[in-house]
């Protein structure tokens, strides 16, 4: 149990450092890093203190603390992944609308060019 909690603490810390480094290098935008940082902090909190973990275990009816920890970690990441899916869907919609708009504008510009050339002679 202690080893699992230590491993999870280190993983959470590594995640926080990794996400912050990515934000610094502009690989992740700040608004998209928030959910990952939040998830890492929740996991860090759970792994550093026994009491909340035991309470979660009791609430879920799981006597085994490591199992409760894994369930909690799984739930946190499912929420983060769900939020990521929402963001991706939103971005995809914007991207499609933008691609269509670019294509339509190019098409209309081409038509306009042809009309100008025809008019010019």
């Amino acid at each position: 149990m202690a080893r699992l909690l230590t491993a999870l603490s280190m993983f959470s810390l590594a995640m926080i450092v990794g996400v912050l480094a990515s934000v610094r290098r502009a690989h992740i935008r700040v608004e998209y890093s928030v959910s990952w940082l939040f998830a890492a902090l929740v996991l860090l909190g759970l792994s550093l203190s026994d009491a909340p973990l035991r309470r979660i275990g009791q609430f879920l009816g799981v006597s085994d603390a490591p199992a409760a920890l894994l369930i909690a970690a799984g739930c946190v990441f499912v929420v983060v992944l769900y939020r990521t899916s929402l963001l991706i869907s939103d971005l995809k919609d914007s991207n499609i609308a933008l691609a269509q708009r670019v294509a339509i504008l190019e098409y209309r510009l081409e038509s306009l060019d042809e009309k100008v050339k025809e008019a010019a002679g």
Binding site: A99, Q100, A103, I104, Y107
Partner: protein
């Protein structure tokens, strides 16, 4: 006079798109026939231009729904009254276009579907496709309140009312079936017109055997989401 546009969505159809354009132009010489190219990696754009068509070139691949919707948006912005979609693979016979247009104009319905099965029998495109069509007929019957013989046909014509809806909101993947539900939920009408379908001239269908299951699940989900969405709005 009503303005008609013939829309040809195409993705990697260099082997067929030129002939399709020439066939359409032979039937309707004065009608604009833009090709919507979904970022093909072959010579589709070149062949289309050589055949005399203008090309709406999407900057990257959007899938069939996004490709068709781009065409609908263009048509709506340019003020067209009717749009008939003819696939770039040569399966649809352009000689049927006047028939579709006539029904659109005479009935005032928002959408016509060129159907290969409306007379009770049609060409055989493989047992999997036939099973899929049979399944979706059964699913759609209670939702639409009437039978639809060929729900997966891409040979469709729409009027400006449907165009205004589709230019704003259109299913992105495998759009034909979902589009029917969207129309029906808005109390729009559709009519099926018997049409002649041919085997594709070149290229391959995007729906392979492996993708069929994904197709069915995706479309089913889309259908039910649309039904729930409109039911909630109605309440």
């Amino acid at each position: 006079m009503s303005k008609l546009l013939i829309l040809i969505p195409a993705f990697n159809e260099e082997g067929a798109v030129g002939d399709v354009i020439r066939e359409v132009q032979a039937v309707l010489p004065e009608t604009p026939v833009p090709v919507v190219d979904d970022s093909s990696i072959d010579g589709t754009v070149l062949r289309a231009r050589q055949a005399g068509a203008r090309v709406l070139e999407l900057p990257h691949h959007l899938g069939l729904g996004g490709c068709v919707q781009a065409g609908y948006r263009l048509a709506y912005e340019l003020g067209y009254d009717y749009v008939i979609r003819v696939d770039g693979d040569g399966q649809h016979d352009p000689r049927d276009i006047p028939k579709l247009l006539e029904v659109l104009q005479k009935t005032g319905c928002e959408m016509v579907i060129g159907s290969r099965y409306v007379n009770g029998k049609g060409p055989h495109f493989g047992w999997m496709r036939a099973a899929g069509i049979f399944f979706f007929r059964a699913v759609l019957r209670p939702i639409l309140g009437k039978a639809v013989r060929d729900p997966t046909s891409g040979f469709v014509g729409v009027n400006r009312t449907a165009l205004s809806v589709f230019s704003r909101s259109f299913p992105l993947e495998y759009p034909e079936i979902e589009a029917l539900v969207v129309l029906q939920r808005r109390r729009f009408r559709f009519v099926e017109v018997p049409c002649h379908m041919r085997p594709r001239k070149a290229g391959r269908s995007s729906i392979t055997a492996v993708r069929s299951l994904y197709y069915i699940l995706h479309v089913l989900l889309g259908v039910f989401v649309n039904v729930l969405k409109f039911e909630r709005r109605r309440k």
